[in-house]
Amino acid sequence: MKAKWILTAAALSLAAGCATQKGFEVPGFAFGCPIGDTKVSSMDDLVKAKVVSEGRRSNVQATEMRCSKVSGDLLRIDANLNNDSRSVKRVSYKFRWIDREGMRAWEEEAWKPLMLYDNSNLVINTVSPTNKAVDFRLIVRGDE
């Protein structure tokens, strides 16, 4: 009886392990986004690793992020921003591009202002400016 329970528990933990590995086919990537050696086992982990919040605390949070390769060697990024408040919120964002050595692959981008309606989601997307950019950070700044 005890052995049966142990086997069931082992099977469940294996299944859970497989579930978290779903979509991580390429080593060093999670949801298509480059992660290097960072341990990412969920979308929340990926968002924490890639998004930097600056300025005033805001109700706007990045909740999802996916990446893919376009035009052969450029990185395309889709990031979902969520405003969970009952009012319109304004934030600014920019992407920071990092090269293979961990240095800046591109000059600092301009801040891009954004308006999010109350209780809404908005997907922002971009493409890396150069094939030297192999990693990135999304910087989100509360404007109000």
Partner: protein, 193 residues
Amino acid sequence: MSPLRGIALAGAVAAAVLATGCAEKTRYGDARAVETLTNEFGSTDLQMMAESMARSMSQAPVIASANLPVVTVQEVRNKTSEYIDTRAITDSIRSELQKGGKVRFAVDSAGMGQQTEELKRQQSELYAKEQAAEMGRMVGAQYRLEGNIVSIVKQVKDTKDVYYKLNLQLWNIRNGLLEWSDEKEIRKTTTRG
């Protein structure tokens, strides 16, 4: 102290206080910060338009799949009601694409005068013949970039709404086909009070 002298002294003190209060202060700022000083076309609009267009164009099949295609920049017509230096937009797009290493740019009509002048100058007796740039070696562009920027302005009492739309097109010079086109829209609303 005579009353007249007292008034003069008080006036001088008031002037000094005013001068201190109105003293100008200059500080450096962030050239890439969001600028919302007025409703008119500003640096943030220019930067957003240029970045968005350059990134979009770099994904166009004729740019992404070709080996450094040669592009020439033509006019972006300003169809708005305000003065906009559209050359600044195309210059920024050109810089971003050139730095990205995806495109080469041929001399455009605006720079043609200076280019031919320099070529002619090098053909003069002043220059060593073997090092001088030869005539008839300029590379013609395969594609030309042109576009329009339009605006719609509406104002009611204390609210002014401005909508900008930049449309760019990349035309194949040889066959006249439109190879890529994209738009960037911006809306700004100013409310007084």
